[in-house]
Amino acid sequence: MYIKLLCVLLYVGSCLANVDDTSVLPEGFVDATQRSTHTNNWAVLVDASRFWFNYRHVANVLSIYRSVKRLGIPDSQIILMIADDMACNPRNPRPGQVYNNANQHLNVYGDDVEVDYRGYEVTVENFVRLLTGRTQNGTARSKKLLSEAGSNVLIYLTGHGGDGFLKFQDSEEITSQELADGIQQMWEKKRYNELFFMVDTCQAASLYEKFTSPNVLAVASSLVGEDSLSHHVDPSIGVYMIDRYTFYALEFLEKVQPFSKRTIGDFLQVCPKRVCISTVGVRKDLYRRDPNKVLITDFFGAIRPTRVSTDRINVTLANEDDFIVSTAASKKPSFRIIIEPQFPTKFFQLKKLRSM
């Protein structure tokens, strides 16, 4: 229905363009393309680094996790991959907590985190399988990206990268070509409506260079040839807390409320070179909407507008018997529990052994 409307508008638009010989598109068409069309939100958040000295990468990914969860994406639609355990690491003097700041104001680990892939499970293979929906038989539901053509997907990657690759756990790497292929496959399989790709690593912009799939907006913490830098060190744990780009991204996201009018355009300005030291790279050419008109909650939140009604509403119940069990539920008779012996005494000829 919408597609039809779009086609008609497109047709009218092209006619008008031909007649007027101008590149100005009709307002209706522009509006239609600028309106958000997603039905649900998914987030894939990946920390690809292992080892304690990469604490900052875990803090990065948890910062984004905290924000998307706070803005309404449920845990069942967030796939969180963390390659190492920082919260319960023996080196962490504050067990069960991960902070983004030496002042310890914000425990980004929180009290109800759910990590879907952790430790050795964070591999390039699992990540690509997750994106493309080719998970192995029997994979748990919470480990699958069950997005469809109406889903807006946020992909966030952090770790150690180089020109054209991102290292996974110091033992393998994903290349920008593999990433682009994965996303193209997602598009062909109608696994996303719009995709926001965010990456915080050295030479991050190289990771989105090969993208060709439509409706992808990409932002990277540094351009090719640049390093992405960490923010500050916490002397009490002896490692860097968080990376600069994500630190300022979180600072911005903390101010966003579920019904905020902030746009992705604002978000792209979040870390100017003055504070980031690296240059934030943005790729907009695959994205048809104007980032300045796209709400940030289109990717970072899942907002369901609800209406409170005081009107009388007629609810027809299909068949009451289906779900109201008769209150006179029969009480089951209890029985004696007989379990077989838990120790094979038959092998022992202990004279003093007491019989069971």
Binding site: R50, F51, A83, D85, A87, C88, R94, P95, G96, Q97, Y109, G110, D111, D112, V113, E114, V115, R118, G119, Y120, E121, G138, T139, A140, R141, S142, K143, Q169, D170, S171, R307, S309, I313, V315, L317, F323, I324, V325, T327, A329, K331, K332, S334, F335, I337, I338, I339, E340, Q342, F343, P344, T345, F347, F348, L350, K352, L353, R354, S355, M356
Partner: protein
């Protein structure tokens, strides 16, 4: 607009269904939920807190297994999807110290441990294997643990040690039962496991005892263990009980708590007081041990009643707080229990607190590796029997496939507790049972079960020699130098006395069922420590180094050889320049003066003289 109305309609209907469910809970007694908390001060300024949440669902075959009220849906669906009758999952961090803490209520090993019994019509071994890996996958999602690594390469089928704790119901006794066991000693346990575990409870973490389990206060303990046990008890297929037991066992070190004086309270341990009880629970009881180590404290407020329980000649006194009565008139206030040392005792306690050890439990076990190097070693398991009677011992080992065990080197030597040396080989203890399933590289782990009799007041040392395998390049984990784990061995025995023994009897399901539960003997199972071996680990940067070195050598060799092979050597003609230093300077000065005039001439001369070598390769000339 219409869609919106419809959505609202659905919402309303959902509320209606929920409402209907709520109304029934009081009437329908086929589903029950109980919460219990046991607090026992331990020797050496430690406190053990044990939470147990028990859901029992009395169901018949004709009822839909999907229709549950207190039992989590995922557990009910297990019975539909799998032929699993009994399932145990443990997620543990830390080591339980048997010598000083006694025996725990539930036994677990460090990391993740899982075993299940399958029983059903027409089950085959392949089918059980399939269901087992799928079951592990399901719980890897449910509990956010890496249980999906459980497969045939690290699972065994225990033969004697683990016995079924379920009742399959009459009629099909001749159906064979299958068991699978696996452990993942490397698994970490953190908030991401606690969160989904709490979500399985009827009240979640909102109210009841589970509200005390806050991640920051659970994970700063010395030992914490989450457990989940499901079993079915069927008289016949129409009359069954599904029993789900969730346990959380924590040991706090009081010296690590802030402003520690040796006193403690619920608020000190868990960060907050108790906000009430779970409204869906049939009972909410707190049991506080009053004698033994508990003697040194005074309780504020005093427990409402005391229970004296004698089990196997061992008496324990528990103070009981019934939360449902406690909160009757209390309103919104948080409930707190404080353990206070009476003033007179404080000095004495602080001075001599270390000496309050309990009598060591009858059986103890430790495990360690012997030998050096990365090629071979010996696994040694040492058992100590402090009791005056012999104990029957059953031991199960699961040795991963990357460690080769040699059965012929398996020995059990023993010594009297007064002696320090083990006797020589002539006096090895005889095996009563030896079950051995050899491992297969990359396919099967080695499974070993032995039974023997441990003489009174003596120790036994079980040793087996092993080889460590050199893995393939891609089989090493990303942190290969951390080492590889060998899971803990499980040991089972029959204790004649119940000293330090707190386990719940097999036919009971609540902690209170262990009160006065005297039996002829008590089945005790213990876990040894897990081992970490460093397999021969190659230097992974070696190929890179080799390539760099080889390239350098080739380049160094190629240059001169190419140059020698392609250039012609010509004898140099004497140059016109003088050899004497002074004359050289004069020559240069005169040359510079007449430089402009002689430019033409000079270049011609240079050409004529040439270099020491003249290139004859035309390509070389083009490049220069």
């Amino acid at each position: 607009m219409k869609r919106c109305d419809m959505a609202l309609g659905y919402l309303l209907s959902i509320f209606l269904i929920l409402g209907a469910g709520h109304a029934q809970i009081n009437i329908d007694s086929n589903e029950q939920f109980h919460e219990e908390l046991v607090i026992r001060p331990l020797a050496g300024d430690h406190v053990n807190t044990y939470f147990q949440f028990t859901t029992r669902w009395h169901y018949g075959e004709n009822e839909s297994l999907f229709h549950t009220q207190l039992t989590p849906r995922v557990i009910a669906e297990l019975l539909q999807q799998f032929d699993v009758k009994e399932l145990h999952i443990g997620l543990t961090q830390g080591l339980w110290r048997y010598e000083t803490w006694g025996y725990p209520v539930v036994e677990t090993t460090g990391g993740a441990e899982m075993w299940a019994w399958f029983n059903g019509p027409n089950l085959t071994d392949q089918e059980v294997n399939r269901q087992w890996t799928q079951l592990a996958n399901v719980f890897s999602g449910v509990l956010c643990a890496s249980l999906n690594f459980v497969d045939q390469t690290n699972s065994i089928a225990p033969k004697y040690l683990l016995r079924p704790q379920f009742m399959s119901g009459g009629g099909d006794e001749n159906q064979s039962k299958f068991i699978r066991y696996s452990s993942l000693p490397r698994e970490i346990v953190c908030t991401e496991n606690l969160t989904p575990w709490k979500k399985l409870l009827p009240c979640g973490s909102a109210s009841g005892f589970a509200s005390l389990l806050n991640s920051a206060y659970v994970h700063n303990t010395k030992f914490h263990s989450l457990g989940l046990t499901v079993r079915t008890l069927c008289e016949h297929p129409e009359n069954c009980v599904l029993e789900l037991t969730q346990t959380a066992n924590l040991v706090y070190d009081l010296r690590l708590l802030e402003q520690s004086t040796g006193d403690f309270s619920l608020r000190r341990l868990f960060g907050m007081g108790l906000n009430g009880y779970c409204e869906l629970a049939g009972s909410s009881q707190i049991y506080v041990q009053l004698n033994e180590q508990g003697q040194r404290y005074q309780l504020v407020p005093e427990p409402t009643k005391e229970i004296k329980t004698t089990r196997g000649g061992h008496t324990v006194i528990y103070g009981v707080y019934d939360m449902q009565k406690q909160f009757e008139g209390q309103g919104e206030r948080l409930f707190n229990i404080a353990w206070v040392t009476p003033k007179g005792d404080r000095k004495q306690r602080l001075g001599g607190g270390q000496h309050q050890f309990l009598i060591p439990p009858p059986l103890n076990v430790h495990r360690y590796l012997l030998g050096q190097g990365q090629e071979r070693g010996r696994i040694a398991t040492e058992l100590t029997n402090n009791h005056y009677e012999p104990l029957p011992i059953l031991l199960q080992e699961l040795i991963p496939w990357y460690v080769h065990a040699y059965l012929h080197t398996l020995r059990i030597r023993s010594r009297n507790l007064q002696r320090h040396e083990y006797t020589n080989s002539k006096k090895d203890l005889p095996f009563q049972v030896l079950h051995y399933a050899p491992g297969k590289q990359r396919e099967l782990p080695t499974h070993l079960e032995i039974a023997f009799e441990l003489p009174p007041n003596s120790a036994a040392l079980i040793t087996i020699e092993v080889d460590y395998l050199l893995l393939k390049w891609l089989e090493y984990p990303p942190d290969a130098n951390h080492g590889h784990y060998i899971g803990s061995a499980i040991l089972s025995t029959l204790l004649p006395i119940a000293r330090n023994y707190t386990a719940i009897p097999i036919d009971g399901h609540l902690f209170e069922h262990s009160f006065n539960a005297t039996r002829p003997s008590y089945v005790l199972s213990l876990h040894t420590e897990a081992l970490i071996v460093s397999l021969p680990t190659p230097d992974f940067s070696m190929p890179y180094n080799v390539i760099c070195l080889a390239c350098t050598v080739v380049a160094l060799a190629f240059g001169p050889i190419h140059s020698v092979a392609t250039k012609l050597i010509i004898v140099e003609r004497q140059s016109a320049a003088p050899k004497n230093f002074l004359k050289k300077i004069i020559f240069k000065l005169t040359k510079r003066k007449s430089n402009s005039q002689q430019q033409q001439q000079q270049t011609e001369e240079d050409k004529a003289i040439g270099g020491t070598e003249t290139d004859i390769d035309p390509t070389d000339q083009r490049e220069s």
